[in-house]
């Protein structure tokens, strides 16, 4: 059994890292086992013979001629074509980047559509008579982004809250409110009780109307 284990060590001694303790065990075994000693000796012969064989390197009959021959058949590579290939590679990267940017834009658009869906839900449930025509909103992009993100999570709750108010406040007012409030204001809205919610919207709309009016001073 030990002989079999040690044979691997004898044959692959240069590749197998064994601990000092294992090495001691190996040499102790070697001192008592004739078979392993013979194998070990044969392995030394192997190392000697392959070592000698390794020292004798085959020779290229005519090295210069071989170099010439190799260089004579390498297909020419025009530096201009290589530069062009590099440029094409860069264009590919740029194209991928543009596609990525467009995908991002459409994703954002889909969020905007979701926002519109909330408004439409309000509209069809309570304000059926109001025209579908959508005004040109003056949405602050940064605010909308945060708001839309929030809307993705609190979609139902926020919609429901708006629906509850839809009989008291006109669709156009709700629409303007949902399109211009920021995240903080939305949170304020959601944490307020139903009576205060209406007040919040009206205050908000009043303020935003004032800020749009030209100053009298």
């Amino acid at each position: 059994m030990l002989c079999k284990i040690f044979e691997k060590y004898i044959v692959l001694s240069d590749l197998n890292e064994i601990s000092a303790a294992e090495q001691r065990e190996f040499y102790n075994h070697l001192a008592t086992c004739k078979t392993c000693r013979e194998k070990y000796k044969q392995q030394e012969d192997y190392i000697r013979i392959t070592g000698e064989l390794r020292e004798k390197s085959p020779e290229i009959p005519n090295p210069e001629a071989l170099t010439r021959e190799i260089l004579s058949v390498i297909p020419e590579r025009n530096p201009k074509i290589i530069r062009l290939e590099k440029r094409i590679r860069w264009l590919r990267i740029a194209a991928l980047f543009i596609i990525g940017a467009f995908a991002g834009f459409y994703f954002q658009q889909s969020l905007y559509v979701k926002n519109q869906r909330v408004l439409l839900a309000v509209k069809y449930n309570k304000q059926k008579s109001v025209s579908l025509q959508v005004e040109n909103y003056s949405i602050c992009l940064a605010q909308s982004k945060i708001f839309i993100k929030k809307l993705m999570v609190s979609d139902e709750e926020f919609t429901q809250s708006l629906l509850n108010l839809a009989s008291d406040i006109s669709y156009n007012q709700l629409e303007e409110y949902t399109n211009t409030i920021c995240l903080q204001e939305q949170e304020e809205f959601l944490s307020a009780n139903s009576a205060d919610r209406k007040k919040l919207i009206l205050n908000f709309l009043q303020q935003s109307t004032n800020s749009r009016l030209p100053s009298n001073n």
């Binding site: 001192a31 070990y40 013979i49 085959p58 009959p61």
Partner: protein, 196 residues
């Protein structure tokens, strides 16, 4: 009992200058000539030890360097340049062995006759010695023996060149060495001693 002599397993070939490689990637044939001159001897030694024929080895070296030229821009600096070159040479040699086998099957076996005329005495003698030791080995065992014991590649280099796992290379080398050792023993028993 004296400690067993270790085999040299680290590849110590001087690598081509990265600037020269870069210039070759950009299509500079003069720079590529520097690489060819620097490495053709090592390339030839490996090809010869696999193919055991001067003419075939020269063809394989030429084909390999053409492949290197064409694939230079795909060379990742993850491995040594010579290790990458060795992998290409081994693949080229294996293709050549396949082709030679086919040629023999189809009756075009005049290759060996013509090359013997030009082959130097040293090479012929060397081919005979390597053949004597390793001819009976299966291909993978023979390649493991040539790469590690004759070309001094490290185990990890051989793993990359042969596209095998560490365990597979070790086991192929184990059986190769065992068989060669037994061949040597038989020769010793048959005659007084084997002389290289």
């Amino acid at each position: 009992m004296k400690k067993q002599r270790m085999l040299k397993v680290e590849s110590n070939i001087k690598q081509p200058d990265p600037k020269i490689i870069q210039r070759s990637v950009e299509g500079d044939a003069k720079a590529f000539e520097v690489i060819v001159k620097q490495l053709q001897e090592y390339a030839f030694a490996l090809a010869f030890r696999i193919l055991l024929s001067t003419e075939d080895a020269q063809d394989a070296v030429q084909d390999s360097f053409i492949k290197v030229w064409n694939k230079l821009d795909s060379y990742k600096h993850k491995h040594l340049f010579t290790t990458w070159l060795y992998r290409i040479i081994v693949n080229t040699c294996l293709d050549k062995l396949k082709l030679n086998k086919q040629q023999i099957e189809y009756g075009f076996s005049d290759v060996e006759v013509s090359e013997d005329m030009e082959q130097s005495l040293i090479n012929r003698d060397l081919a005979r010695q390597i053949k004597l030791l390793s001819n009976s080995l299966p291909q993978k065992q023979r390649l493991a023996f040539v790469l590690i014991d004759l070309q001094c590649l490290s185990l990890s280099e051989a793993v990359y060149v042969l596209k095998l796992t560490k365990g597979q290379v070790k086991s192929n080398l184990y059986y190769a060495r065992k068989t060669i050792r037994e061949t040597l023993l038989k020769k010793e028993e048959g005659r007084s001693a084997y002389v290289v």
